[in-house]
Symmetry: C2
Subunit: 351 residues, 2 copies
DNA sequence: TTGAAAGCGCTACCAA
DNA sequence: TTGGTAGCGCTTTCAA
């Protein structure tokens, strides 16, 4: 009788904690195993099943998932890391992921890296403690520590929102460089020649940097002179970024006739600042965004932008993860490890 | 030797799965308990601690949280349900919660109810399986099933974003009715007399309904004639709601001189529609929002709105939950079970 | 179709 | 300061 953590229950005592599987079993007059089978949907005689279900309902029994995971050796967690939950972009991706994974009873473990790679590593380490079946990260830049943790964990990994040459494991995204180049070409086709770029000052927003790189490459390729780049403000780029960035651009290059922004947020801020300064959009100044947020469609003038299927990134990631966790033995062919997501310039009135 | 789930490891075999605490113990030449103590930060001789730490690093050992939770009888999960992760309002609340809870090693289990009470119940049931230490819900309306589940679970519960007369357990929020009434008074003080209201058509957005109720009460109390209410569109109310709602309002009551919107999103949509129709804001039509999103400050004209401390709701909720989980034995006094969050009309240019 | 026993990986408890 | 043992609540495995 030594070493008992909880005092033995005296017969007739009210059960102390929440009901356990053995309580259900006793009430239904069956063994624990039968209860377990009913819960798992395995074959059990109809009459037995009904008695067990009744006992479950009567006691309000909820099975302990931690115990189940420990015993069966597989958890139902999927770890997901995004730079920011507030961004509609990433929250759409999360919605796409849930939509795919929830029907399989998988539980998302969500984390918000705040565009901070060290924080990402801390979160990965902390989430790995729950033995997730797989993990989805944003971007393809990670600390060495993060990579090491992931490699050692040997679980399927998807990197989202980018298209790295050599992903850790799998990737679902698109080339931000190419998308930005397409926007420059679009602006050039519309007749703009003095095109500026408004981006963030932080090197942590890799996707923003890629867009900047694409802008610079295409400006050079098209012979549109020296790039006109303003880098201002921290990630994530917010609406309030647009106004001061536009002012800085016009202060340095007053003859600019179009501006391409790292996101719809800053494009919106820039357009509102144009309203304030009496600059007509697009007549005096064209403004283009990136992301095709709802904001871009509702703004006056509606914002020309690059639409990206954020929800699709989530749901395709979910599919890859499902395939990888369900059939872990069948390694995917390399060409199936990278999923390219569509993107396109959406022409509206602002540019 | 029967009933062994995994075949016994032959001496010299490479360990099959990830390293376990016993692997670390063996490598460091100590018992599992000592490893456990090092991880928990309990007192261990410095030299021993260092050897153990070295073994942990060498193996890349990550402790299994499910096993720990099962053994110790307490998990590190906190369940959190919000209507929508995409809304900056609720994602701010989540940030406030994380900021308070993460330092204590607590892991958020986030769920998105999509403004659907049945879905809320499903999520609560599913999260309860992980034996969370406590749970935070949004709003004070829940299904009977949800209430029953929560009562039976006997864990601390906080209802956020509302101020119910009788909370399930604890509440952190404010009265949406009172806040809306203050906005009507503000508009009246500014000289507006024909004030309309733009809200959603769904009865699921309780906070939106409360704001409508506050509007109606105060319009009557101030003798401002019959309420002018347009209810259009599903929850959550988005930017695209504003334009058609404004059109409907003006079609029915062309002489309206001010409009109060259920959220900054629809206020923004309404203002953009005013731009399109050549209606000057606030000269021809005042527009007020609710929530004080970044959008409201960046819009041209900047939007007069009700600011609510969304982040504060999260961090105060975190404090309550910490107090309740850490000192579960000390029941809070009833007057400490309800935390009122400040809100205030922010006067800007739009009204 | 059902049951009994063992054990998943960890921590509480007591002993040394 | 450290170690041994029992057991958390469940599922796997095999037997009936």
């Amino acid at each position: 009788m030594a070493h008992l953590r909880n005092p033995p229950r005296v017969v007739g005592d009210a059960p102390s904690g929440p009901p356990r599987m053995s309580d259900v079993a006793r009430l239904a007059g069956v063994s624990k195993m039968t209860v377990s089978r009913v819960l798992a949907g395995h074959s059990v005689a109809l009459a037995t099943r009904e008695r067990v279900q009744q006992a479950i309902d009567e006691l309000g029994y909820v099975a302990d998932a931690a115990a189940g995971a420990l015993s069966s050796g597989r958890s139902e967690f999927v770890a997901v890391l995004v730079p920011s939950l507030a961004s509609s972009n990433f929250s759409d991706t999360v919605r796409g992921l849930s939509a795919r994974l929830e029907p399989h009873g998988l539980q998302l473990l969500l984390g918000d890296t705040d565009y901070d790679l060290a924080r990402e590593e801390r979160l990965v380490r902390s989430m790995l403690r729950y033995q997730p079946r797989c993990i989805a990260l944003t971007g393809s830049q990670h600390t060495d520590g993060t990579r090491r943790l992931l490699e050692r964990s040997r679980i399927p990994v998807v990197e989202m929102w980018d298209m790295p040459a050599r992903p850790i494991d799998m990737a679902v995204g698109f080339s931000n460089v190419r998308a930005a180049r397409e926007m420059v070409r679009y602006l050039k086709d519309r007749g703009y020649r003095k095109i500026g770029f408004l981006g963030g000052a932080s090197d942590l927003d890799r996707r923003g940097l890629e867009r900047l790189k694409g802008y610079q490459q295409e400006i050079r390729a098209q012979g549109l002179g020296e790039p006109r780049v303003i880098r201002l403000g921290q990630s994530p780029i917010t609406m309030s970024h647009g106004a001061p960035a536009l002012d800085a651009l016009l202060a340095q290059w007053p003859d600019t006739d179009a501006v391409m922004c790292v996101s719809d947020m800053s494009a919106f801020g820039a357009i509102m600042q144009c309203h304030r300064r009496g600059i007509r959009v697009p007549h005096d100044m064209a403004v283009a965004g990136f992301g095709n947020f709802e904001l871009a469609a509702c703004c006056q003038p509606p914002i020309t932008t690059v639409s990206v299927d954020a929800y699709g990134i989530g749901s395709r990631t979910g599919e890859l993860l499902l395939a990888a966790t369900m059939a872990a033995d069948l390694p995917l062919k390399p060409e199936h490890r990278k999923v390219a997501i569509d993107h396109a310039v959406v022409a509206r009135e602002s540019a």
